[in-house]
Symmetry: C2
Subunit: 132 residues, 2 copies
């Protein structure tokens, strides 16, 4: 088997990879230290929407520049692709969302964190990035 | 089915969770922006060791305060536990490592990033944190 050489993904490829999974990690700053939380997301028309937790853990992320990462790890722990989106985290409430997203958000909590992807980076082994 | 109420993990529980998986995400700063990379780790006598990539992506993390997160996500995308370790990332070369770790490191690249966990936080649903 040939080794999988990772390569940079285009913005479109990276967003497609991100849209193909449902869990990623929100990275933000809390009390001057980096904080990371696994959360659920969807990609909706190029925008990244994250389901707020019932608790307050994610509140320090609001209105700050955050990173959001998702990746693909195979059953034998091989890392396929990784995508990171950087942008400001904004809070959306139910009234800002269409019916489908409102239902998705309410499954866990009452709000959604919206990240407009200012910067999108990613790498992946060509065989595994969902763009073949 | 009762909902899984996450609770804070003790340091020992959190390190045990971290030791139970092989992939996590290193969070550091690169060009004034948060950077995240999925990587492979082991926990060795309470210390976190990360396998350096063949490339130079992780070099900006060295000698800075980083966060390292791992989590457990089930097949239906439910988030079980999440553990974050914070500390300074130091580079270890082959001569610093015992035989077992040297073999592990050389499988991918020639160096290891060592994080002494100054701060260990974690949460988990009691049923899923590997400490029952």
């Amino acid at each position: 088997m040939k080794p999988h050489r990772p390569r940079e993904l285009t913005r479109e490829e990276a967003l497609r990879c991100l849209a193909s999974v449902r869990v990623g990690r929100l990275v933000y700053t809390h009390q001057a230290l980096p904080a990371i939380r696994p959360v659920h997301h969807v990609v909706d028309d190029g925008e990244v929407l994250i389901r707020g937790h019932a608790g307050s853990a994610l509140l320090p992320a609001l209105d700050t520049v955050v990173a959001y990462e998702a990746d693909s790890v195979s059953g034998d722990d091989r890392i396929g692709w990784s995508v990171t989106v950087t942008g400001v985290a904004r809070r959306l409430d139910g009234t800002d969302l269409g019916e489908r997203l409102r239902q998705w958000a309410n499954g866990d909590a009452g709000y959604v964190i919206w990240i407009h992807p200012e910067l999108v980076t990613g790498f992946g082994a060509a065989e595994e990035n969902g763009t073949a």
